[in-house]
Amino acid sequence: MAIRVQREDFDPGREIEALTTGNTAVGGVASFIGLVRDVAGDQPGSAMTLEHYPGMTEKMLAEIDTEANRRWPLEASLIIHRYGRLEPGDRIVLVVTASAHRAAALEACHFLIDWLKTKAPFWKLEETGDGDSKWVEARASDDAAADRWTRRHDKDAAE
């Protein structure tokens, strides 16, 4: 498991290769890459700035990663999240999970990005194109997506 919070871009191919090279127990790798869209709400956007809480960000990502490793038999996992000013098309986040089989890798990857959105202390400030900027509001659908994993886990635990 590895966590990186950085201003710089990353190379998804290189990261995936580095994560799995030398581990022949890995049978499946899943990845998610989040990109900056060119739309801010219903307005065309030009760029955004990601702010975060240094220290707590790394801590929360590590906790989420630990939880994924507890729930699924992962051989390796990686979360990279960028901060600072990003433009449409730029990569924001990378989640990679590797396991012996596809189900664990795919589910853990989905879980990590869903939980990260509501539990990691990042905030997006969107430039709205008219020289103004606006803080992105949290969406109820993101909470619902994260909550899905909580209910499922609780249900599993109760069985």
Binding site: G34, H52, Y53, W135
Partner: protein
Amino acid sequence: MKVLYFAWLRQRTGVGEETVSPPPSVRDVAGLVEWLRTRGPGYAEALKDLSAIRVAVNQEFATVDAAISPDDEIALFPPMTGG
């Protein structure tokens, strides 16, 4: 204690991080926020709606009734929008 503000809370208070010494009657996060509101119009505006604010105490999520002490690091911020 150290208080950190993020996103629009930082913009409205005009402060990213500060060390404060609230009176001993301030024992929890809600009490701290109430006291911080008296520090100026920017604070009053930023902190007017407690339900819009999320809290961390020593880098762990907490609720507004969480107890606080002088050595704590309290962070106030809106719901998160990463990913």
